[in-house]
C-alpha cells in the first residue's frame, strides 16, 4: 500500500483523538452523581441546539416560511413551549440536587424527556435547513 506520510499521520492522529474522546467523554468524575451530571449536560446541549435553530429561523424568516414551513411552525411553537419545559427541568434538577431520592429522579427524568424531545426535533430540523443551504447568516 502506497500511502504518503502525511496520510498516515492524519489517520494515526484521528484514531488517537477518537480514543481520547471516548476515554474522556464517557466517565463521571468520582464523587459526582451521574444522574445530575447527565441532566446538566443534557440541559446545556438542548439549549444550544434549540437556540441554534431559533437563530437560523430568525435570520431567514421568510425563506423558512416558504421553503420549510413545517420547520418554521415548529420553531414558532418551540419559542413558546421550550422555555417552560426547560425551566421545569431546571426546577426538577434543583429539587433532585437537594434531595437525591428515587422519586425526584423519576420527576427529573420526566421533565428532561420533554426538553430532550424538543431538542431532538430541533436537531433534525437544523439538518434539514442546512441541507437546503439555510444557515444562520441570512440567505
Amino acid at each position: 500500500m502506497n500511502m504518503r506520510r502525511a496520510d498516515k499521520t492524519l489517520i494515526v492522529l484521528a484514531v488517537c483523538l477518537l480514543a481520547l474522546s471516548c476515554a474522556t467523554g464517557c466517565k463521571v468524575a468520582p464523587g459526582n452523581d451521574a444522574v445530575l451530571v447527565d441532566a446538566e449536560k443534557s440541559q446545556a446541549i438542548s439549549l444550544d441546539v434549540v437556540d441554534a435553530l431559533w437563530k437560523v429561523d430568525d435570520a431567514n424568516r421568510e425563506t423558512m416560511r416558504t421553503q420549510l414551513p413545517k420547520v418554521h411552525d415548529f420553531v414558532e411553537k418551540s419559542r413558546r413551549d421550550f422555555p417552560p419545559a426547560y425551566r421545569a427541568a431546571d426546577d426538577a434538577i434543583a429539587v433532585y440536587r437537594a434531595a437525591r431520592t428515587a422519586g425526584n429522579q423519576s420527576l427529573l427524568a420526566v421533565a428532561l424527556e420533554k426538553v430532550e424531545a424538543i431538542a431532538a426535533e430541533a436537531r433534525r430540523y437544523l439538518a434539514d435547513a442546512k441541507a437546503k443551504g439555510i444557515t444562520r447568516k441570512a440567505s
Binding site: L20, T24, C26, R65
Partner: protein, 64 residues
Amino acid sequence: MDYFSLIMAAIQLIEKVIGDAQQTGELTPAQVVQLQDRAAQVFSSAESRTDDQVPQSEGGTQGG
C-alpha cells in the same frame, strides 16, 4: 487546503467534541447560575421573536 490546515481543522473539531463531552462533574453553583443566565437571555430574545411580535418589515406577517 494543505495537510497542515486539514490536520489543524481536524484537531479543532475534535477538541470541541471532547470539550462538549468532557463535563464529568456536577456544575458548580456559579456554573449553574451562568447556565440559568444564558437560558434567560436566550428565552427573552426568542419569546420576543415570534411571528406576531416581529415587525412586518422583517417578514413578521404570514403571507398566506
